[in-house]
Amino acid sequence: MLRLPPFRYLAPRTLGEATRLLAEEGPQAMPVAGGTDLLPNMKRRQFTPAVLIGLRHLRELKGISGSPEMGMRIGAGETLTSISNHPLICAHYPALALAAAAVSTPQLRNAGTIGGNILLDTRCNYYNQTEFWRHSIGYCMKRDGSICLVAPGSPRCWAISSADTAPVLVALQARVRLVSVRGEREIPIQELFYDDGMRPYTREADEILQEIWLPPALGWRSTYLKLRRRGSFDFPILGVAVALRREPDGRIGDARIALGAVASHPVEAEEAMARLRGQQPTPALLQEVATLAAKRARPLDNADLTITYRKQLTPVYVRRALDLLLEAEQGSGAE
């Protein structure tokens, strides 16, 4: 049986106490919320924190409030299940509900939190392996080694951003609030990410992700498509999040396209987005936009299936996501 390495466990009762403990214990400590990403990684010895600080009972991280008119606040400790079932999120931020529902399995969504999913450790099939396996191959730079085993000549780590909700929150232009003993900051979610598999987040070790703010949703439609081999369990090998708003005359007022699992961070397809804005959607335009968006996908051989395949599927999924949104609009009439 694969077991956890020893650690001390601390259970703060308030967010203030949690940030204080995190600061006091220093880099040897890690916060744990749902545990669905951290604990398997610890069993594989990808992380061996001396201290775990439990966020599970912090009320400050709970709650879903607000409205699509004003925008919504989601506590980072809310489970993926509660997000995927929330009526306002399902109706007005469907991409987020879809992405939350697409994560792993019901059991993991019942325990896993949105905060944990956003801060999911980047993944790589040279890295998400047991201690035995990584020892066998000689370790990689992300943990215990010095080189990248996917691209041995490369100075950086190419582990993949694999969170389903991350590209969606980028496409929805969400903001996140981080708190620490040093204070708090609220940033656009894009600024939470680095294009670096080793250190994929700008979150400092003493910071706790407290909440996510979604902007008003009126007039926006959104969707999320996930490529994976099976209907559950699997991480995305491509995630496509699209949000768009149309003008009364049918032209596209604004569009946001973000890709997941194609790099170490969620990638925005700026060129494709710009090409869409102000245009009447035609099949030819959508195909062009899909091709443009796909240029941002640079998969490497460190996830399921082949690089070529994952690359080839990117424009297909982008176009299908756009088709879905535009067809749905036609179906229900302009809002």
Binding site: M1, L2, R3, L4, P5, P6, F7, R8, Y9, A11, V32, G35, T36, L39, P40, K43, R44, L52, G54, R56, H57, T81, S104, T105, P106, Q107, L108, N110, A111, G231, S232, F233
Partner: protein, 170 residues
């Protein structure tokens, strides 16, 4: 260093001294002797160790006992009531939904949670609810049939509340 904690499992209170890094799965099986909860991967990739926390299915291999002292934990051993099987246990047995039986406890707990929330699930809803439980023997078909039959029995039992015993007869 062990910590003394209290767990509420299947309506019983257990005081147990645990190492913080022992999972709920390990404590249930090795400290409490509740070996009905199985393990297939210990990484959250199979669903065999599913238990209910306050009625919600989660994986005991990824749960820290220290964090769930305020929860009511239900394992497979807790599905029988006063010696009588849960209708799902009956139909799983009668309709061949358990072959090797190793995924069965986890599968049953997912199914119990489903029927509590949705007493008349469609086949598609059943598939969704069980999508975190892998079975290697059955091809799932007999599991779906057993859940559908149990839903039927529960609804008949519900209608004839005065005579649950008679209503639960096959």
């Amino acid at each position: 260093m062990r910590e003394l904690i209290t767990l509420r499992v299947n309506g019983e209170r257990y005081e147990v001294a645990v190492l913080p890094h022992r999972t709920l799965l390990e404590v249930l099986r090795e400290d409490l002797g509740l070996t009905g909860t199985k393990h297939g991967c210990e990484l959250g990739e199979c669903g065999a160790c599913t238990v209910l926390l306050d009625g919600v299915p989660v994986l005991s291999c990824l749960t820290l006992p220290l964090e769930v002292q305020d929860c009511e934990i239900t394992t497979i051993e807790g599905l029988e009531e006063q010696g009588r099987l849960h209708p799902l246990q009956e139909t799983f047995a009668e309709l061949g939904a358990a072959q090797c039986g190793y995924c069965t406890p986890g599968m049953l707990l997912s199914a119990v949670a489903l029927l509590r929330q949705n007493p008349h699930p469609t086949r598609e809803e059943i598939k969704q609810a069980l999508s975190g439980n892998l079975c290697r023997c059955t091809g799932y078909t007999k599991i779906y049939e057993a859940i559908e039959a149990a839903a039927e029995r529960l609804s008949v039992a519900h209608q004839g509340e005065r005579r649950p015993d008679a209503a639960l007869q096959p």
